[in-house]
């Protein structure tokens, strides 16, 4: 500890200069901090105003960022309650960042499960006109925590339904009681039949009917044996049918032979027709020859007539 009074100490060298240096350092620190904070608060940049209208501004705080593609482009300046009960979130957007906001931009307010709220802007068409200063837009709310009350209500309903199902006088309990009765009846003397019919007399009737059915089946069995013997026996229906088929095959073979003969006849007829066609062709040439001979005869007669004395005068006398 310093024990000597100030008046007893010799003055240090350059004391005033050093003290002034410290003062300058403090003032520069304070001034620098003030300027930096003003810059950080956006005091030196021009901004435009955007008003987002929401039904509920819970989670939105002053100074909160408005982000576009993850980058902060604006800051919540004020939140106020409008006359119609909606909340107006007033946001300052610096001019240099306002180009990302267009008239077609969509704004969302999302709340996470941890209560973290985010204001986001989406501009699908960047070629649209820019958002004007002071524009009012409805904000779309996507609230993850808003689902929780509904979920809780659903759960409560589910639990109440479960409770109703599992209550002492519930339909499920009575059904289970009935099932227990049924299983006890199943384990009883008449078993499932007694359970299905409800009383022993009916069950007895069913058993009698079954016995009679069995005897009927035995008779049907004998009948079937007889039918079998008559059908498939040595003189039964099937061997006779087989013999008939054999005979039919023989008849069919005869028919096939006859048809072959008919085919041969038809071929002969076809040859005869061909010959007739050839004869017809020869007739044409014969006719030509006859024609030629006739013309020759005709010329010869003309020649004879010309050379013959009593030939007619062939000259034509002109008047």
């Amino acid at each position: 500890m310093k024990q000597e009074p100030s008046t007893a100490l010799p003055p240090a060298r350059n004391l005033e200069f050093k003290a002034a240096l410290l003062l300058v350092l403090l003032f520069s620190l304070v001034a620098g901090t003030v300027v930096y904070l003003l810059y950080a608060r956006g005091a030196f940049e021009e901004s435009q105003r955007l008003v987002l209208v929401a039904d509920d501004s819970e989670g939105v705080t002053i100074g909160m960022d408005l982000t576009f593609a993850g980058f902060p482009i604006g800051r919540v300046r004020r939140i106020e309650l409008a006359e119609d009960g909606t909340t107006r979130i007033i946001i300052d957007v610096p001019r240099k960042d306002a180009r990302w906001l267009r008239v077609s931009s969509v704004f969302t307010l999302t709340r996470g499960l941890l209560g973290n709220t985010a204001l986001k802007a989406f501009s699908g068409i960047l070629s649209d006109p820019p958002l004007p200063d002071g524009a009012e837009r409805k904000v779309l709310v996507g609230d993850a925590t808003a689902e929780i009350p509904r979920l809780v209500a659903d759960m409560r309903e589910l639990v109440s339904n479960l409770r109703a199902l599992t209550a002492q006088d519930s339909s499920l309990a009575s059904s289970l009681g009935n099932v227990r009765d049924v299983t006890e009846k199943l384990k009883g003397q008449r078993g499932a039949l007694g359970m299905l019919l409800g009383n022993d007399a009916d069950a007895k009737k069913v058993i009698t009917a079954l016995d009679r059915t069995n005897s009927l089946l035995a008779r049907v069995d004998g009948l079937a044996a007889k039918v079998d013997a008559q059908t498939f026996g040595p003189d039964g229906l099937v061997p006779e049918a087989r013999a008939a088929i054999v005979q039919l095959n023989g008849a069919l073979a005869d028919a096939r032979t006859s048809l072959k003969k008919v085919d041969a006849i038809l071929e002969d007829a076809q040859v005869a027709a061909g010959n007739a066609r050839d004869a017809t062709a020869d007739l044409a040439s014969l006719r030509a020859e006859v024609d030629t001979s006739l013309r020759k005869v005709s010329r010869m007669i003309d020649e004879v007539n010309r050379r013959w004395p009593f030939a007619r005068d062939p000259k034509i006398k002109l008047p």
Binding site: Q3, P5, S6, L9, A19, L22, L29, T33, L37
Partner: protein, 267 residues
């Protein structure tokens, strides 16, 4: 009041203690008003007063400045690391920086600076004042026509306050830089985001509360110890208890200021 507070006065023990307590605080407020008047008086900054002021400002701040900044930086680095790692492990890394700024720059660093200035600067100054008065230096100065309050007390009060402001200011700046480097590393790419975070933390209300808090810390640290010993004429034989009492008073006032600032910031 002196007769009321004397052990042979008409009041019972509890009433006398209460009155003594109120009287002690009243003296501190009165002393603060006196010092404030002297601080705004131009004559306090000329001649020998100026030299005494310069000497105290330099000697009370310069020797402790460097190693306090180093010490607070070390503690800050540890706390920043803890906060950042914890926030990342919970998936809340986006809030880590804001938390660091709020916890360290807004709350812890000014508090540490005030306590440090009180222990290292204000309490020794108060002991010096008590020693001077016990040795009759004050009377000697008064006989020479020099106001001892202006010559000996005011420079010590101003220097303690200056020391508090300087330590708090410089440490806050260094811590802010350390927080940036710890989170982002040595790159200037995240400066815009960091500035934005800083701006969102230091809104006008928080900035004003922060400035007032540091100012009141400085006033409390500078005034309370010296005022406690300056007015303690009738209990000169209980010097040690007076210093201890002033220390307790400083802590109480600092605590009240801190609580008030927390209420202002978060309620």
């Amino acid at each position: 009041m002196t007769s009321l507070l004397s052990p042979h006065g008409p009041l019972p023990g509890a009433g006398r203690a209460t009155l003594t307590w109120f009287a002690g605080w009243w003296r501190i407020i009165h002393f603060g008003a006196l010092i404030l008047v002297l601080a705004f008086s131009p004559s306090s900054y000329f001649g020998p007063n100026r030299l005494a002021l310069a000497r105290h400002v330099y000697e009370d701040t310069a020797p402790i400045l460097l190693w306090f900044v180093v010490l607070s930086s070390l503690i800050s680095v540890v706390i920043i690391r803890i906060v950042v790692v914890t926030a990342v492990s919970y998936g809340l890394s986006q809030y880590a920086l804001e938390m660091v700024v709020r916890v360290l720059v807004l709350e812890l660093i000014p508090l540490t600076a005030a306590v440090f200035a009180a222990l290292r600067c204000a309490l020794p100054n108060a002991a010096e004042i008590a020693d001077l008065r016990r040795r009759g230096e004050f009377d000697a100065l008064a006989r020479q026509g020099v106001d001892p309050l202006q010559r000996e007390v005011l420079p010590r009060v101003v220097s303690a306050m200056f020391s508090t402001l300087m330590l708090a200011g410089l440490s806050c700046v260094v811590t802010a830089v350390l927080a940036y480097v710890s989170v982002y590393g040595f790159t200037a790419g995240a400066l815009a985001g960091y500035t934005r975070t800083f701006g969102s933390v230091f809104n006008p209300a928080v900035s004003m509360i922060f400035a007032l808090k540091v100012l009141f810390f400085g006033l409390a640290v500078a005034l309370i110890p010296i005022a406690s010993v300056y007015y303690d004429r009738e209990h000169a034989h209980l010097r040690t208890s007076v210093e201890l009492q002033s220390l307790v008073r400083i802590f109480v006032v600092i605590l009240l200021i801190e609580v008030a600032s927390l209420v202002g910031n978060y309620y």
